[in-house]
Amino acid sequence: MAALTEEQSMLKDQATAWVRDESPVQKFREMRDSAEAQAFTPATWQAMVEMGWTGILIPEAYGGSDLGFLTFGVVLEQLGRQLTASPLFASALVGASAVLLGGSESQKQRLLPAVVKGSEILTLAADEGPRHAPAAIALKAQKRGGGFKLTGTKSFVVEGMAATTFIVAARTAGKPGSVDGLTLFLVPASAQGISRTRLATVDSRGYANVVFEGVDVGDDAALGSIGSGGALLEQVLDRARAGLSAEMLGTAAQAFDMTLDYLKTREQFGRVIGSFQALGHRAAMLFTSMELARSCAEAALQAIDAGRDDVPELCSLAKCRVGDFLHEMSNQLIQIHGGIGMTDEFDAGFYLKRARVLESLYGNQAFHRDRYARLLGF
């Protein structure tokens, strides 16, 4: 773990204790089995709001604490450990980032304090197909008088059922194949012409496909200037990827801890299985991957906080490397636990299922390997 400031350490302790005491993975199991419509427990979400986590990125002028991305990462890592479900990431990290980076003063004043209070839940609606592809965005925003008319479909929108405002990446110019000509719009979920369908996914979390049928928005709904949304979208996506890397690191670290614990306690052939060199070496190599992955995730978060110009490279590196580790670790979690790992009664399956969704969100490992190479110029 990076050297933390006193404030960051306090928040880490708070998050660690809260997740351990109030939101162990058992809570996720209860939520899954309850068929909660929004795929998170309102009381859990309320507790996060009360602890101030929704304001970690938001300046004090809008009611937040402005502690930055590394701090947000510290909290997300703990939530990732116990698979705690909430709209914290979608709204207070991704949504808030979009408003902070592209929003006008009046947009900030209207939305950010409400995000901190939890009364407003933002989410980014970008992808339209089964694979992450910002350049392929086709949803049309046609100029009509004092505003735009939005027509098209967004798929797999994170917390799409709970969201109160969508940040919609729409095409105001250009053709699919390039992010040039995109514009981001703030669209209330209650707007005429929006219909959403809940998706039942392997990780039992909240996603929706959202259809926009001639949805009218005013000129003041545009986030940033018209046609320049491509660059803004990339910045928002990189922040989302860094945040996901932190959450994924937590999920994978918990899977590692569960596996290590099992290696030390499970006995076969009259000895604990961790005494077999094949398994000891596998654990050593997983630990090595975990330490390297942690460096990448923390470097991405710190680069955003420092406003460095290698943020895109580091965010792709983090999403890819933590994703690779989470992929392998979630498989080894099942493999090393053997038969018990295959049962729904045991938690290992939750981690495997969540892992694949996290890997896929905002670009899987293949996407980021390709992007990293392009950023390096080959």
Binding site: L260, V272, Q277, F287, C296, D370, A373
Partner: protein
Amino acid sequence: MSDELNALRKEARDWIAANFPKSLAGKGIGMEGDAGTLGPDLEIWRTRLAAKGWGAPTWPVEYGGGGFSHPQARVINEALTAAGAFNHIPLTTGMGITMVGPTLLEYGTEDQKRRHLPGIASGEVRWCLGLSEPNAGSDLASLSTKAVDNGDHFVLNGQKTWTSGADISHWCGALVRTDPKAAKRDGISFVMLPMDQPGVETRPIRLIAGASPFCETFFNDAIAEKSDLLGKLNDGWSVVKRLLQHERQSQTGARGASSGAKPTPIHVLAKTYVGTNEDGSLADPDLRLRLVDHLMDAKAHGLTIARITAEARGNVEVSAAASILKNSATKVAQIKAELTVELMGAQGLGWEGATFTNTELGAVREWLGGKAMSIYGGSFEVQNNIISKNILGLPETTQKG
């Protein structure tokens, strides 16, 4: 910079301009060997350097040195580099300038200093060191080469290994057992002996990367004069400890002139060999993905070193991540070498000859030589044993240690 140093800098610059043979400008010699291609001017330059005491600038004048302070020696070295010149005497003396000389200055008798140091300072006498033995590597003090007292000399019997440059050296500094009954560190002495005698035989060790400077050295009734015992009898362990400190210090400087150019990044090199598609991506998509994977590994490794450094500053306890660095560094270096050879295609499979560039032949040597990385300093497997046992707290495996 004081006036005195400025004056020396000017004097050095003028002297180099007048004395450094133009044919050698910008050249340099490798650790071994390729001096021959530089012609007779190299020997002329050596004698001029030696006459000036610049071969060993900080040694006393009476032993062939320059009598300069360390700041003065630095000024001379900078003047050489600025002119595209070099001091190659440290390279032509083997272990002479860097290790034997400084230890002689500290432990040697007046007679030993007068007999041995001038030949080293002038670059005429090359030295090797007989330390490791086949069964005394990391555990050097368990060495078994014997030296028996025979009046005015010792008679040596035993085998040394990894003796760098033994086949071309004139003298050897050897660690030998002079008291077999004493505790292992207390019965060792450091003796010096000429290599050109019937009792000394050397055999070069050929590695998979080809010729290496290493040799096996055999002592069969080899003679070392008692007047060439360095330090006290049975006190060789203190001498060698000091000697090895000088070895670590010598890791900087004392290299031939180098271009100082940064190596081409591997993905840029790949483009020149493999070509690109219209969109600028590497023409071989499979190689491209493995390259990017390697570059990510390299970046992650660098970030982990940075993270550990930052953590160590804030906390007393250095994080567990430090233990994984050896295996991570090895993986990065070995895969880089494999990819470099691969992207060169047939040009990356040459052994020697003008068909292949120096970069290509160097890549092949680096690929082969790099296999040692996962063997020395605790093998890849030993590191994983350490991680699983000492860091993760898994039970002892079948083997001890």
